[in-house]
Subunit: 406 residues, 2 copies
Amino acid sequence: MHKKLIVQKFGGSSVANVERIQNVAKRVVEYRKLGHDLVVVVSALGDTTDELVELAAKINTEPSEREMDMLLSTGEQISVALLAMAIHKLKKEAISFTGAQVGIITDTSHTKARIIKINADKIREELSKGKIVIVAGFQGVTLTQDITTLGRGGSDLTAVALAKELRADECEIYTDVEGIYTTDPRIEPKAKKINALTYDEMLEMASLGAQVMQSRSIEVAKKFDVPIHVRSSFSDSPGTMILREVKRMEDVLVSSVTLNRGESKITVCTVPDKPGVAAKIFKNLAENGVSVDMIVQNVSHLRQTDISFTVNKTEVAKAIKITRKAAAKIGAGDVLQDDDIARISIVGVGMKSHPGVAATMFDTLAKRKINIEMISTSDISISCIIKKKLVETAVKALHGRFGLAK
Amino acid sequence: MHKKLIVQKFGGSSVANVERIQNVAKRVVEYRKLGHDLVVVVSALGDTTDELVELAAKINTEPSEREMDMLLSTGEQISVALLAMAIHKLKKEAISFTGAQVGIITDTSHTKARIIKINADKIREELSKGKIVIVAGFQGVTLTQDITTLGRGGSDLTAVALAKELRADECEIYTDVEGIYTTDPRIEPKAKKINALTYDEMLEMASLGAQVMQSRSIEVAKKFDVPIHVRSSFSDSPGTMILREVKRMEDVLVSSVTLNRGESKITVCTVPDKPGVAAKIFKNLAENGVSVDMIVQNVSHLRQTDISFTVNKTEVAKAIKITRKAAAKIGAGDVLQDDDIARISIVGVGMKSHPGVAATMFDTLAKRKINIEMISTSDISISCIIKKKLVETAVKALHGRFGLAK
C-alpha cells in the first residue's frame, strides 16, 4: 500500500468531552496502524473558546486583541495535550505542539492573523521518528513571539496550510455531519451527501451560508491545490471531497440549494439618480465596519430609484442608523427595514454554460407562488430574496426541480 | 522618592475569580502610580490546575510529563491575559507573557524543571516603555522549545528568580494570609504576625510544615540574597520580610512554633544491632520513592534496638509494606504503625547560642503532662513527636512560654 501523509483536523464538537477525545484518538491510531504519517490539528474543546470570551468580557468589554489571543490560544493547547495523552493510552507515540512551537508564523493582526510562513522542520523531524504529530489549530506566532489567532474557522486554515507546506496527500476535515449536502437535511429529508465539489462551488456555498467550512481555508486550498475531504468524526463512511475539478457522471447543472435566514433587508426609497449617490451610502457603512451582502438597484424612473441591500441581522440596527443619516444628506426618502426575509441560492459550476438555469429557478418559485424580492447572480450561483416563511417550500421545490434527490 | 523595581507574585487564591483579578489589578496600578517599575507573576486561577489534573486523569492515569506540562501551563497563561485586560481597564499599560516568551529557560525535567537561566531582555524592554509586565508563573521552556513546569510552589520560584535576574529591590509574595505568624492563629488566637525572619528560619519552618512558601524558592532567595516580602493581597498592611539577617529589638530565642499533623510514625522493633541494618531499611524506602522525615534510634540493649521514623500519611501504607519486607530480611521484630501523632517544633536562629532552649521546651511540655515520643533537633529548631490530641495544648504552652504573644 502507498504510504500517505494525511493531515486530519478535528473541530471543537469532535473533542467536546473525554469520551469524544478518546474516540478521536482511536480513529487516529487506526490510521496510524495502516502505516500513514499523520499530522492532527485540533480545535478547542466544545465551548471552551466561548467560555473564555465571556470570562474576558466580564473583565474588560473591549479587551486588547493581543491579550485575547493570549487567552484564547490556551483552548487548543489544552486539546492537543489531552489528545496526545489519549493516543499514548492506546500505546502509540504522539507529541503535541502549539502553533508557536511548530513555527506557524503570522502577521501581527491579532484575532485575525494571516499566516506568512510555516517552518515545518519540527513536524517533519517528529514524523520521521514515527510519531503522530498533534498541532493546536487556530493559532500562530509573530516574528517577535507574540501569540496570534487566525479568526473564525482558523483551525481549518491551520490544517490546509500544514497540508500545503508538508505536501500532504490529503487534508481531512472532521466535523459532526457526514459531509456537504445538496441542501439542509433538516428542511429537505431527501437531501443527499455530495461526493465531490469544486473549490469554487464550496466557496460559493460558504459565502451563501453553508457553515461547514470558512471561505478563507477553501481559498488557500484552491490556491495551492490541496485536496480536502470533509467527513464525520463519528462514522467511517467517506464524506465530500473538495477538489479543483470534479468529473461527474452526468452533466450536473446545480450541485446544491443553500439558504440563509440570518439577514435583513434595508431599502432606501426615492434615491436621486445622480452619480456618487450610492457610493455615499455604502462608503459610510463600510467605514463603520458593516458588511453589506446583496445590493440591488433598479433602473430609475423620474430621475429617482430605490436601492435595496441585505446585511447580517446582528448589524441591522447599526446599519439602519448609518443609512438614515446618509439618506437625509443625499435627499433620499424613507429607509425601510425588513427582517422577514430569507435568501435562497442554487450553486453549481455547470450553470456557467447553461443560461437557462436562472429561468428554471424563477419558474419553479413562481409555480409555488413565491414572490422574488431581490435577485443576485454570480458565475456559478443564483440567489433570490423571498419571504422567510416560504423558504422551506422553496428549498424543497428547487431541490426536486434540479434533480438533487437522485 | 526612590523609584523601585518590584516583583509581585499573586497566588491562585488571589486571582480565583473576576472580582479578585480586578482587586489585584487595582493594587498593581496603585503601585504603578507611585512610579515603581513592576513585574507581576501570577499563578493559575483558583483550582484550575487541580481541574486540569483531574481532566487528564480521566484520559490517562499515567500521562506523559511533557504533555502534562503542555496542559497545566495553560492555567497561568489564562491568568496573565485576564490580569492584563483588568489593568488595561484601569487605563494603565500592561503586557502579558508566558514563561517561554520571557525566556525562562529550564532543564528538561518535565513537571519539576529547574531554571537554568533567564533572558530577561524582553522584560527590560517593556519596562523601559513604561509597561507593567505580567509573567505566567510556574512555567518555563527548554532550549528546544518544549514547555516545562517548575513543580509545587513554582510561581514563587518564578518570582524570586525574576527578582534576582532583574536585580529587583523587592520581591513581594501575595497570599491570603497577612504574613508569617508565630504559630497557627486557628489554634492560638494570641499568635502574632512576625515582622522579619531570616531565610534559614523560613526554610526550617517550611520543612516543618508551614505552608506559606516552598523551600525551593526560599533557597534561591537565600542564595542570591533576594529580599522577600510575604503579605496579604486583601490588605495594605505590611507582612513578613524574609532576609539574610534580621536585627531584632531584643534577643529572640524562638521566633515561631510550628506543627504538622500530616505524618505517621513507624517503629521497627528489636532490630539486630549490626552495621548496615538501618541502611537496608531506609535504602528500600528511598528506592521506592518514600521520603522519610524524622528518624530516631536509641542506644541498644542486649544487642538490639528499636528504630522509629515518620513518613507522610499519604505514603504510610506503602512504607509499612516495604518496611515489613526489609524487617523480615534483617531478622527484626514487629513493625508498628501509629497515626495518632503530631510533630511540634520551635524555630529560631537565636537558639544556636542558647543551649537551654531545648530544656525549656521539654520542661514546658512536661508541666502539661505531655509525653514526648521522639525528639529531633537541628541548628535552629527542635521538634518533638507527641500524641495528636495534645498538640493544641502544646502549641499554646510553648507559644506563651517563649514570649511569642508579646
